[in-house]
């Protein structure tokens, strides 16, 4: 998906949500395009993957603010989620004590480039989507586990 603008700016304890529908089984990674140009060692960014139907967190990763990548898309890795094909998920980014002087922007685009989901953030327009990619474990890898 294209990256053309910030769809949310996270500081303090704010949270951001982007829904999507997985098209494959074994969902095991999400890449988000974040911008964190001002270095900071304060706070963390907590990532959660929530099964929308069951309202259940199926994966979570916590990244210290100081370890966010600066000039590259930020990957979040988690164990493969069985039966993820066709399931609606939310990517939840929860800021925790982030320095307001060093916020983290979630990048994406307007005009609803991803019709199967949407970005949810206070004050955000309804046609915004975060730019994200997801990956699934190939079946043969799954069978070895």
């Amino acid at each position: 998906m294209p990256v053309s603008r910030p769809v949310a700016v996270l500081d303090g304890d704010q949270s951001f949500r982007q829904t999507f529908v997985s098209t494959c089984d074994g969902l095991d990674g999400i890449v988000l395009h974040l911008a964190a140009p001002t270095p900071s060692s304060r706070g963390t960014l907590d990532f959660r993957l929530v099964d929308e139907r069951r309202q259940q967190t199926v994966a979570s990763v916590s990244v210290p603010r100081s370890q966010l990548l600066q000039e590259a898309a930020q990957p979040f890795y988690f164990p493969p989620v069985a039966g993820s094909a066709g399931v609606r998920y939310s990517i939840v980014l929860q800021a925790s004590q982030l320095d307001p002087a060093a916020p983290v922007s979630v990048l994406g685009a307007a005009r609803d480039p991803y019709p199967d989901g949407q970005a949810v953030f206070p004050g955000a327009a309804p046609d915004l989507d975060a730019s994200f990619e997801y990956s699934c474990a190939p079946p043969q890898t799954d069978s070895r586990r």
Binding site: D28, P75, Y77
Partner: protein, 459 residues
């Protein structure tokens, strides 16, 4: 004839008398010199200490393969047609550390091995070549300070120092020194040197340069019925034979898809070899600005510079003591042979202008030429002329080399952040791709590594 050859061999390899001085004192001396050299190497690219990072093969080959395959499987293959054994051993050590600390293990090991190898010349085992302890230390300092030219591609020259990827060239200097060392009297020490030398043969592609010297030493060992010396020389020769058997051609011309052969145009390659030799001599003697001007003036100007330097060396040699010339010739042989082997092993660079030769290929020839100069200076009769000559050469080298002493620091690729990501990925067993940027920029660690062969370590 044979007795003359034996005398030559004695002058090159020294006699077999045990060192009279205390071994402990020399150990302290050796470690002090090694510490000094480590400081010099670190000062040349300080970020290797303040912000250690992988360089090229350190990341996409050594780190990645030890992580995914484990040391034994990773090290059993050839890279660029060569075993790279020493580099794999460093990678093995790096694999024992947490991911975030792995580059520090790599750079620290590279600096330490470089310093310990070069500092060996400060030991009395080389007194038969350079009697003066101070002059031997000066050679060590000079070898650690060898000028690194930009070469092609320009971004690569900074990686010559403090990285396992280029450690083989520094080990090549040590192996060249080992070819000339006066062997210790204890068999156990000779065995250790033999083992070290054999490991070095599998680490540096320039090992064949030492082969004629090892043959001469083996012959002397047989003539003198000196079993340790014979075993030492035969061990190195056997290691080289085995390495050649395994690799076929020690990785010569493994990289390019262009087929080049000396036999296609022997005269052309001979001329190119001559040009490369002249350029190497000129590059050691002249500072960058002057060198660029001389190169711009054409091959004849470069050749004239080289002839002037070599003529000065010959002029010094006319005044040296009787036992000096064989050692001097051995050092000059190491210079000419290492340039020749580099040319033959990387014919593509022989075709390109000599100034484009990557800095890593200039390390061993540079050290050998400076060794020849040190031997010639040491051979001069003690007195004002000798002192003046040493100071003059030192001043010339400082003038010429100081602009090239400090090399460009690497761009910060934020290894600790990617190390944390890699750990996160492996813990999760995620197949999602991860691309870790590494210097130079075209050598990232790109992979879908799922599992490590090692147990993951908590940070």
């Amino acid at each position: 004839m044979q007795s003359r050859l034996l005398a030559v061999a004695d002058a090159i390899f020294g006699d077999h008398d045990p060192v009279a001085d205390g071994a402990r004192r020399w150990l302290v001396w050796y470690l002090c010199v090694a510490a000094l050299l480590a400081a010099i190497v670190a000062a040349r690219r300080l970020d290797a200490v303040t912000n250690p990072q992988f360089w090229g093969e350190d990341g996409f080959l050594f780190f990645r393969d030890v992580l995914t395959l484990g040391f034994p499987r990773a090290a059993e293959g050839l890279y660029m047609g060569f075993p790279q054994l020493g580099q794999w051993l460093v990678a093995f050590a790096g694999g024992l550390a947490p991911f975030s600390a792995a580059p520090r293990v790599y750079t620290t090991a590279a600096i330490a091995i470089t310093a310990l190898g070069l500092a060996s010349f400060a030991l009395p085992g080389f007194r038969h070549l350079v009697r003066s302890d101070a002059l031997r230390v000066l050679w060590c300092v000079a070898a650690a300070s060898l000028p690194l030219e930009v070469g092609a591609p320009p971004v690569q020259f900074g990686g010559v120092l403090s990285n396992p990827a280029n450690l083989g060239w520094w080990v090549g200097i040590w192996l060249a020194l080992l070819s000339l060392v006066r062997l210790p009297s204890r068999s156990g020490q000779v065995a250790l040197l033999s083992l070290g030398g054999a490991l070095a043969v599998f680490t540096t592609p320039l090992a064949p340069v030492g082969a004629p010297l090892w043959l001469l030493r083996a012959w002397r060992g047989a003539r003198r019925r000196n079993r340790p010396e014979l075993a030492f020389a035969l061990t190195l020769l056997a290691a080289l034979a085995l390495c050649t058997l395994i690799t076929g051609n020690l990785g010569a011309n493994a990289a390019g898809s262009i087929h080049l052969s000396v036999l296609d145009s022997p005269r052309f390659y001979l001329e190119r070899y001559g040009a490369l030799v002249a350029d190497r001599v000129a590059a050691l003697a002249l500072p960058p600005g002057t060198l660029a001007a001389v190169r711009a003036a054409g091959n004849r100007a470069v050749a004239a510079t080289a002839i002037a330097v070599l003529a000065a060396l010959v002029a010094f040699s006319l005044r040296v003591r009787r036992t000096t010339p064989p050692g001097l010739l051995a050092a000059l042989y190491l210079f000419f042979a290492s340039v020749l082997l580099t040319s033959l092993g990387r014919l593509a660079w022989a075709v390109l202008p000599p100034s484009s030769l990557p800095a890593r290929y200039t390390i061993v020839p540079g050290a050998a030429l400076v060794l020849a100069i040190a031997i010639a200076l040491d051979g001069l009769p003690r007195g004002v002329f000798r002192t003046g000559a040493i100071l003059g050469v030192a001043a010339l080298l400082v003038w010429s080399w100081s602009p090239r002493f400090v090399t460009r620091p690497f761009g910060d690729q934020h290894w600790p952040r990617y190390a944390a990501l890699l750990e996160q990925k492996l813990r999760a067993g995620s197949t999602a791709p991860l691309t870790i940027p590494v210097n130079p920029p075209w050598t990232p660690i790109s992979s879908t590594i799922v599992r490590s062969s090692q147990r993951l370590r908590c940070r």
